[in-house]
Symmetry: D2
Subunit: 245 residues, 4 copies
């Protein structure tokens, strides 16, 4: 039995994690904390792995506490830029026995979509991304779309692919989307939708489309539990759930 703590336990994702850990036969929930609760509880309850679904404001202090106390971390909180990653690299180096997994997306299907899109990118002249979400989302493009575009763009560059074909000379502002790396990304916000992404790849006479639909928050839990079970045996900082698949 792995002893698991949850930070952000009263949030929507955190509450799902509490439920999923409780129901898993090989995991024991020892702490479910939220804003205002003391992190010391994690020590006293002997938590081995802590899942963090808090906020960009709280997560860095949480991770420092965890690393300094020898507790592994599985992090779904967003907002990790280059500066934060650099800080975490140092934290990990100072605590070599501790594992930290930062995952921008715990949906196994989304992780596979990113992996497949990256692998396929070098075989096609053209690539674009359409991501579609509910209209309450505040950022565009989504973090998953941006990360997919960066990975694909890197793969294209490594394969020596040049600029994509595009004869557009007259265009309404915004029609051709945002550009991340060299990949056009289009963001749809529509009532009735939840979280969806489509990667389109095109070559002579054929197209390949990889689409992920996330219809329920419960869809993230298999990925979170995979992270909890795998993180212990991989000390250091790991970025992306795909490293464990």
């Amino acid at each position: 039995m792995i002893k698991v703590g949850v930070l952000g336990a009263r949030g929507r994702m955190g509450a799902e994690v509490v439920k999923a850990v409780t129901e898993a036969a090989d995991l024991e929930l020892v702490a479910a904390l939220d804003l205002g609760d003391s992190l010391e509880t994690l020590k006293s309850t002997g938590a081995q792995v802590v899942v963090d679904f808090t906020t960009p404001d709280s997560v860095m202090a949480n991770l420092e506490f965890l690393a300094n106390n020898g507790i592994h971390a599985v992090v779904g909180t967003t907002g990790f830029d280059a500066a934060r990653i650099a800080t975490l690299e140092k934290l990990a180096a100072a605590n070599p026995s501790v594992s930290i997994l930062i995952a921008p997306n715990f949906a196994i299907g989304a992780v596979l979509m990113m992996e497949f899109a990256t692998k396929a990118a070098k075989y096609f002249e053209s690539a674009e991304i359409i991501e579609l979400h509910h209209p309450n989302k505040v950022d565009a493009p989504s973090g998953t779309a941006s990360r997919t575009a960066e990975l694909m763009s890197k793969a294209r560059k490594e394969a020596g692919l040049g600029a994509m074909p595009d004869a557009t000379t007259t265009s309404l502002d915004g029609a051709r989307g945002a550009t991340v790396g060299d990949i056009p990304v289009h963001s749809v916000r529509l009532r009735g939708l939840i979280a969806h992404q489509e990667v389109l790849l095109g070559g002579l006479g054929e197209t390949l489309t990889i689409r992920h639909d996330s219809l329920d928050r419960a869809g993230f839990m298999p990925g979170v539990l995979l992270g909890v079970r795998s993180v212990i045996s991989k000390p250091g900082l790991t970025f992306g759930l795909e490293k464990f698949m």
Copy 2:
């Protein structure tokens, strides 16, 4: 037998029209003209209906000649702005027995897509358009996408719908597409594609998607022939093939 002439007969669309008219049992091809040929041939051969797939530079003079000689016109040439439409209105008024059909899209499926999108628009809070074309296309969005957006936007306004829900506060430039009327429009340009459009409508707990795929120029011919057969009995200026469906 209706006597049919074709202008732009050596162009890609014109050549298809020549073929389709020749193969139709109830139509007789009497003239297939292109740049440099004299329009007088249309009179001497007794053309009753002329199909024009030429260029924005030629089409206005062609239509003036046709109207002044009592010949009906079916027009697939693009580039009709408000000023040109006004000119044609006058031309039609001065020649009340003559019929002119201007159609931005002769694919019957595309016409139905526009009609359905317009009809559905008032029932949904959100609506966006994604159009996807081969990378040799020079304009974005496509004419069909713009026209669809205008029709939907008008229908939304008439139904008293307010602004669409959209909580976006942080956005990369272009991510949320171009806006035509009040409809976001996204243009994808991908090797391997031909001409495709997807209209997305979303309301509480449900979405409706209407998609048209045009995979071969031959797909426009049933609509062109429908126009040729129907235009005679509808004197005046008609905009859109849907008026004949």
Copy 3:
């Protein structure tokens, strides 16, 4: 204010109706009944319209009670075959001031999908339906898919369309789907899905696809409320929400 009663109020759909009626400013919930409750309550509370989401076993007796007491009905319960429809026709004839709406699907998007599919059917040589649902569904194809196929098949026949092109000579059993009317229907059952349907229409060089995604039971409520508000002014038996759109 229209006084509304709900039968099957403790069921999943009924509970949503209770919530939606309560929240609607122009409707008053006067009775929320389920198995074991007396229908007499509907009379004593002055219910003008009753929404029935019960079971095939209960619905006929409910409708008889409602009609005989001058109460209009909006029915989402399934299982209406030709014999039951005939019985309801007689019931309606005997109570000419009473309105009964039977709707196989209250999602406005699904109703539009069926209407558009029916209208488009006559313009295309080929048509097939793919319906996709969660794996707990017990019947295949879905009621909505069967009804769509029947409507399209009737439209094809009325337009004088012949058999669809299909050169299949070697086929694994079931590969080409079930046939309803003359339309092939394919049923997908997949974990993660909710309720989805795609109507595919194909002609020379083009295809038209109409897709409905139902992602939340709440998506049926706007249609139920539209039924409640519209049914009063249409005495007699009405089949399908589209009659009110």
Copy 4:
């Protein structure tokens, strides 16, 4: 320069291969043969690799001739069952320096689709395949769909996955598709379509869809040329272009 011969050079696929080889800077077309031509020409012209797009009736004799004369083969002809594969295994063993590539699909996108579908299969409870083709196709399901299903079914079994969830109790004959391995496969035949396949994978709260669209025969040529260039360095019998990707 690799010296290349083509068998079936007057067929639709063969003619494309002739064109593609001629246009490739690193390949030299030395023979373009069809029914009635002597295979001896391949020897006299010094062909190193021969591409075979003939018929099930001719291909086995062709391959025997090639192997016995030390010529490598890239084969797009269909109809290889277990008995034929066994015969080829022997042929390859008797000619250890010769390479034979049998590929059921040369579209790079289709090969990637199969690879991704196989890799993803073990992560999802449910999986189904929809393949969609023009109505002149004689077999259902397509060879590509059957092979995809077999690969996915094998991956599911190796991962210890049990039966897919499916509560269907009442079903019209054919509605749930054909079953290949344990994967339901649905075949759509629609005017306007060319060759398309969609692999659907579903788990708790999410679905992953991988779709390939083949819109032009030219789309197979990059894969054929990849085969021609790679086959020389891989003696023996190879099944599937993915071995070279």
